[in-house]
Amino acid sequence: MATISSAKSKNPVVRFFNMNTSGEVGGRDLPLWRQLLLQLLTLFIAAEVMFPIMYIITLSFSSKTTRPSALELFPKEISLGAYAQVLDHPTANPVSFLELLRNSFLLSFGVGLAAVLIAVTAAYAFSRFKFKMRQVLMVLVFVPLLMPAIGLSAPLYLLMNNFRVANCGKGVTAFYPFTSCTPGVTGKVTFNLRDSLLGVGVAMIAGALPFAVWNLKGYLDTIPKELEEAAMIDGADANQIFWKIVIPLAIPQLTVTFFLGFIGHWQEFALPWLFLTKPGDYTLAMTLYNMTGQYANSIPWNRFAAMAIIVAAPVAIIYIALQKNIVSGLTAGGVKG
């Protein structure tokens, strides 16, 4: 029916812009010329999307270590040399690819998991219980969400720098800030919480935790209360309801929140870049940064491209596998404020 009204206009341009875009109503068969026109448009958009992707894939499969002199968007050769080199010896630093991978994985996995585990009970309390100070405490949790992650990094950097283990010599070990070497003796610092994966992980949890609480609360709000009320009538107490009913129902969202944390912190760059100094602690994101910009002059572009694809792969795979869950999981928090 809609097609009839738009067919009234003789001008093809007007008809194109007046076409039925509403979904399944009427006009199941598009006229061929319109179909072709639309295909042209969608193909153009597809080309826009594929341009950088094809560019980087082509670069990564190239065996040329020189910088690209002309634009190539389709691989002329499939050489895995760049990948092999990156896996074998990612940067000039004495650190292996496996170490970088382990560091990235430990940080993102640990932070994602810790945030979910610590957040879930608080999210439940905010979602279900009525208690004094509820509003105040909720604001306290969500205020840090407003703060960009960088906002807390100065005090975290300084405070964590306090926690050091120093070897004072003569078999004496000092644990700052609790014990220190005898005055006058400058010990050799063997461990600095700030300069360790543990410290960075803790600092990252500071950013991840409020988000996890918010995200999980939004989901728990959508679980109907009737189930819990029924269980309460059957004599279950609050803890049993939480562990036996709420947690099993929330498992999908717990997983999604975990993976959101994992994806987000897989790419975390600012805090590790600020905190860590030992190449053995570096992450994949830091290595990727070392391969670009002012540092890029010494690094062949094919190796940079291979590295970019390696860093992107886990996130892309998780995202594609969980796409539907992630989109609904992200919006779950928005359903109810």
Binding site: L137, T292, G293
Partner: protein
């Protein structure tokens, strides 16, 4: 008899007490952790924002004999460009940051909606393939996107100049195109942002972030489009509404509840887009693409002015709070709009 009723009363009291304490038990893990790694650092941040904390104080911190209380000097220095930092003016960076976030959303949302509507046209061939392709940018981590685009905009070997060269060849030009995308300081359209240059790097970043940004909006809009009841369109077309009338009077208002939060999410994301900006230009050239978070980072990592950095973070917090209150208003307003 008396004892049993007293027992009952006591257990009742205990139960009530337990019920009163229970919520706080559930809150305890999160709040214990946050007290140590969030609230205490926040307070510490405010304290050192009133000092001249620098590398010299790193070991002894607040007990450092060299640490001076400077009152509001850090805050004044930030607002009056009194910092020992080149090319830093707070209000220029704030304006640029707002401009950057707003222009991004203004481009991403309409593009995302239009492409979603395009993909929703019944009978379009290969719809599923396009949907799968178009979601790819959402899937690639932004740090990778930024590094790849940084190389694309490389002035000597980058794909963008090579692409423009081949286009220019088609048009009869001979020489290679040599645009200094990320390093040229001149502003192509000088009147666009009165208190600062919008360098070519800004446009390059807009292009790169456009690639990154619209697919997410398309994703959200597609979901919302599919939840619009089809009979609305049927009824409208029976009443003689043209497709464009249907678009403006049915599709747009019904997309609004989904798109306003998405736009606000996109706005906050772009406003604090640290990784992307840092990887692509590092805020350059001459801090012309610097946003608040990248400058905050620079204050800590390179300039090592911890006291100033703390004051800056406090200011950024109030900027974020103001923006949150405004955007919250906006969502509320649209909420009541949809309910009305």
């Amino acid at each position: 008899m008396a004892t049993t009723t007293m027992d009952l009363a006591r257990t009742g009291k205990q139960a009530r007490l337990r019920r009163a304490v229970l919520p706080y038990m559930y809150l305890l893990p999160a709040f214990a952790v946050m007290a140590v790694i969030t609230f205490y650092p926040l307070i510490y941040q405010v304290i050192i924002s009133f000092t001249d904390f620098q590398t010299k104080d790193l070991l002894l911190q607040l007990r450092s004999p060299k640490l001076n209380a400077v009152g509001f000097q850090n805050y004044i220095d930030i607002f009056t460009a009194g910092l020992p930092v080149q090319n830093f003016e707070f209000f220029r960076i704030l304006t640029y940051n707002l401009w950057w976030a707003i222009t991004n959303v203004m481009v991403h949302v309409p593009a995302g909606v239009l492409i979603a509507v395009l993909l929703n046209i019944p009978g379009l061939w290969a719809k599923k393939i396009y949907r799968a392709l178009y979601v790819l940018p959402v899937v690639v981590p932004p740090i990778v996107v930024a590094t790849v685009w940084r190389n694309i905009f490389d002035e000597q070997y980058g794909a963008m100049n090579q692409f423009l060269t081949s286009v220019a060849h088609l048009l009869g030009q001979v020489g290679p195109v040599h645009i200094r995308w990320l390093t040229d300081y001149a502003a192509p359209i000088s009147w666009l942002l009165p208190n600062g240059p919008l360098t070519l790097a800004y446009y390059a970043m807009m292009i790169a972030n456009f690639w990154l940004g619209w697919p997410f909006m398309t994703l959200v809009a597609t979901g919302a489009l599919q939840s619009i009841p089809k009979d609305l369109y049927e009824a409208a077309s029976i009443d003689g509404a043209s497709p464009s009338q249907q678009f403006w009077n049915i599709t747009v208002p019904l997309l609004r509840p989904a798109m306003v939060p998405a736009a606000i999410y996109g706005f906050t994301l772009s406003f604090n887009l640290f990784n992307f900006v840092y990887f692509m230009t590092g805020g350059g050239p001459a801090r012309s693409t610097e946003i608040l978070v990248t400058f905050a980072f620079d204050l800590i990592r390179n300039l090592r002015l911890y006291g100033v950095a703390a004051a800056f973070a406090v200011i950024v917090f109030f900027v974020a709070l103001t923006l949150f209150l405004i955007t919250n208003r906006l969502t509320r307003a649209t909420e009541s709009y949809t309910e009305a």
